[in-house]
């Protein structure tokens, strides 16, 4: 009985734990190498700039900034502070970020700031913000780069991904891709 179970365990371990994931790796790497390797964005010199699926930290006022990340988008790990809705530390952080945002973006009304911009994503690596969260930063970036705000709004519109199949999920903008496009803008 024990011997049977030992043999069974090893057979299943070889099938499920080795053959299956290795076969899946092989097939994926051949059929969909870009996705299977982490959707990395590479520049013309072959340098890795990041992954289009993983958020990055942007603090420079010339760039669109993403969501709050307690781990500063360090994708060697993942996580957040797990603040309960009643946690005073959550209120404190939000008030501090609100004040800082209003100072960096003069002219923006407090009630126009969408909630996603000043909340911590679950993963701490959210690559997206809502289109409203990008629009609310337009005036600051236009001023810092001496650009026409209308051009920036057009860029955001162009970079906005709609709902999947027109129904599922939410409209969103990938901050890294938006900022890469921003650097191309003349």
């Amino acid at each position: 009985m024990w011997l049977t179970n030992l043999r069974l365990s090893f057979v299943l371990l070889l099938i499920c734990g080795l053959a299956y994931p290795l076969a899946m790796t092989g097939i994926s790497q051949v059929v969909m190498p870009a996705q299977a390797s982490g959707s990395l964005i590479v520049d013309e010199n072959g340098k890795v700039l990041g992954s289009e699926l993983i958020g990055q930290n942007f603090t420079d006022p010339k760039y669109f900034s993403g969501r709050v990340s307690s781990i500063e988008n360090n994708a060697a790990g993942s996580g957040s502070n797990n603040y309960a809705p009643s946690n005073p530390a959550l209120i404190e952080r939000t008030q501090k970020d609100l004040a800082a945002f209003l100072e960096a973006n003069p002219g923006v009304k407090q009630e126009d700031i969408p909630a996603d911009l000043l909340t911590n994503s679950g993963s701490g690596l959210d690559p997206h913000i809502s289109p409203q969260a990008a629009l609310v930063q337009v005036d600051r970036i236009a001023k810092a780069r001496i650009l026409d705000p209308a051009k920036l709004r057009a860029l955001i519109d162009e970079q906005t991904e709609g709902r999947s199949l027109g129904v599922f999920g939410e409209p969103r903008v990938d901050v890294l891709k938006l900022n890469l496009a921003l650097d191309q803008l003349k």
């Binding site: 299977a36 390797s37 699926l53 060697a76 993942s78 309960a84 909630a115 994503s121 993963s123 129904v167």
Partner: protein
């Protein structure tokens, strides 16, 4: 748009679940079917390699086989975790896992719980991710499916409850492996990595360096959901953009984890030769699920009143701990599904749910029969069905019968044990954790939410769910040992008790249906069943829910 996308997912699920239910009833038939021609070759090879005899088993032989095979698996898993530092396929140079954490992790994956007191990126080598985590992610739901098949044969069959090894292997070859291959490839197409390359290093456009952990993720994420396992490759599970990159991958993961639990009631209908019976069981679970889903959705969409007062607009809903690509609708749906199917995968941080939104996962795990994990959830709802027949029978003065079999003292005692164990192993350890320093030291959120954190951890362990209010500092000897034991009790006591019930029922001479028989395939029984679940299953937990989420809600609303 929110309601449309939620409704569409549920319709697709139903469309898939009915044929899947029929398929499962054939795939596990004791008689020969056409499927044997297709899968038989591979299965006979495995029987031969392992020296398995194909004779029918008594319930005791079946239970012993479950236990011995599971003990073997957990021992192998523990050894590998302890030795991962010196084993190959470890490109990021991860050290051995310490003994208590290894115990907790091995038990957690053995019991289909997948509570994780480690973080996958830094705690496990690629080899461990594959031959411990993925391996157990197949074998444990397969064990659950095997046991539910044995249980349903006990309620509906005549010949025997079957052979454990045959059921276990068929669950792999006919269900989990083929489905996992399909789902893995669909996930990679959405952007989930599947590579043996180590962590990537990127130089950002502002000149900073970013490390990006990756690995053989997709092959784990697919079986994580199909097997209602729930343990993530990464610490933050399916909220990580590499585990769940798009709304479509989210849809795929929801359907994967709900497919088998939702189709098993139909399988039961086919086996009982009464499709209506299957629909009534499905309907009772469906009604409870919808109530929980709506509670979660409306609480999250209304936002956090505390943040509103702090000056942050909440028109988008409560976004702390959530991902922009999913928004409120896909998040509420995922949360309701993952704790109904006791998978435990998360696409948000449950700790950050609004107070009553957080009551939803807690409540579903406390009932533990709103669809439930692969196999065991169906066993639980059928257990409640037998209890409902018994109570209704007592009220109208009739001998309780279920599907033509008399329900007597022996079955009721076993069911009473299984039902009472669940609140006991949640409430007693929660009380100990809150009363002692070694327990309460892990609590990270102040006030009433702290009570919810400890309560959630044990509820999740007992229901073999595995999600957490993850702010809890749970990698300590107290939490590793206590949750490890709760997970073991939560899984095996009810499995053994229910195999005994199956063994006892199959031996009974069926009684003919008369005018006096309580019908179990109509809407009246659906209501009785829900009432039984609510009265017996839920009321026990009301006081502790009042101390945790309800009190927190009253303080911030």
């Amino acid at each position: 748009m929110d309601f449309l996308q939620i409704a569409l997912v549920l319709v697709v699920l139903l469309v898939l679940a009915i044929p899947m239910g029929r398929y499962l009833s054939r795939a596990f038939a004791l008689e020969e079917t056409r499927l044997d021609r297709f899968f038989g070759g591979a299965e006979r090879l495995i029987y031969k390699l392992c020296g398995i005899r194909l004779a029918d088993m008594s319930w005791k032989q079946y239970a012993v086989a479950v236990l011995v095979s599971n003990i073997t698996m957990v021992a192998i898993a523990y050894l590998i975790l302890r030795l991962q530092g010196v084993l190959p396929a470890n490109p990021s140079g991860i050290a051995a896992m310490e003994p208590l954490l290894s115990f907790n992790t091995a038990v957690s994956f053995l019991t289909n719980t997948n509570l994780q007191h480690y973080s996958g990126e830094s705690g496990l080598s690629y080899l461990s991710q594959m031959i411990v985590i993925i391996y157990l992610m197949f074998t444990t739901p397969a064990t659950g499916i095997a046991v539910v098949m044995a249980f349903m044969r006990g309620l509906t069959g005549k010949r025997s409850i079957g052979n454990y090894y045959v059921d276990l292997i068929r669950a792999h070859t006919r269900v989990l492996i083929p489905l996992s291959i399909i789902v893995t490839l669909l996930l990679v197409a959405q952007g989930v990595p599947q590579t043996m390359e180590p962590t990537a290093t990127a130089t950002t456009i502002t000149g900073a360096e970013q490390q990006i952990a990756r690995g053989p993720v997709a092959s784990l994420v697919s079986i994580k959901h199909l097997g209602t396992n729930g343990g993530g490759f990464f610490g933050v599970n399916s909220s990580h953009p590499f585990e769940n990159p798009t709304p479509l991958s989210n849809l795929l993961e929801i359907l994967s984890m709900f497919l088998i639990p939702a189709s098993l009631p139909f399988t039961f209908g086919f086996m009982a030769k009464s499709r209506k019976q299957g629909w009534i069981i499905f309907g009772a679970m469906g009604v409870m699920f919808l109530a929980f889903l709506l509670l979660a959705y409306f609480n999250e969409v209304n936002g956090n009143p505390a943040l509103e007062r702090a000056g942050l607009s909440q028109t988008m809903g409560s976004m702390e701990g959530k991902e922009v690509r999913f928004g409120i609708a896909q998040t509420a749906l995922f949360t309701a599904v993952t704790t109904a199917a006791t998978t435990g995968t998360v696409n948000i941080m449950h700790d950050t749910l609004t107070p009553l939104g957080g009551l939803v996962p807690l409540g579903e795990m406390m009932l533990n029969c709103v669809f439930g994990g692969d196999g065991v959830g169906t066993i639980n709802i059928l257990m409640y069905a037998i209890l409902a027949v018994f109570i209704a029978g007592l009220m109208v003065g009739r001998t309780p019968e279920f599907l033509g079999r008399k329900i007597e003292g022996r079955e009721m005692k076993l069911i009473a044990i299984a039902i009472l164990v669940h609140p006991l192993i949640i409430l007693a350890p929660t009380a100990i954790a809150l009363a002692t320093d070694m327990g309460s030291a892990g609590i990270s959120n102040p006030g009433f939410h702290g009570i919810s954190q400890a309560l959630y951890e044990f509820t999740s362990s007992a229901a073999n769910n595995g999600s957490g209010f993850e702010g809890l500092g749970d990698n300590t000897p107290f939490w590793n040992i206590s949750t490890g034991l709760v997970m073991l009790f939560g899984r095996y006591i009810s499995i053994i008790a229910m195999l005994a019930v199956a063994g006892s029922l199959i031996a009974k001479t069926p009684v003919p249906e008369t005018m006096g028989t309580l019908q179990t395939d109509n809407n009246v029984f659906l209501v009785i069943l829900i009432a039984t679940v609510v009265i017996v299953g839920a009321l026990t937990f009301l006081p502790v829910l009042a101390l945790g989420p309800i009190a927190e809600w009253l303080t911030i609303r």
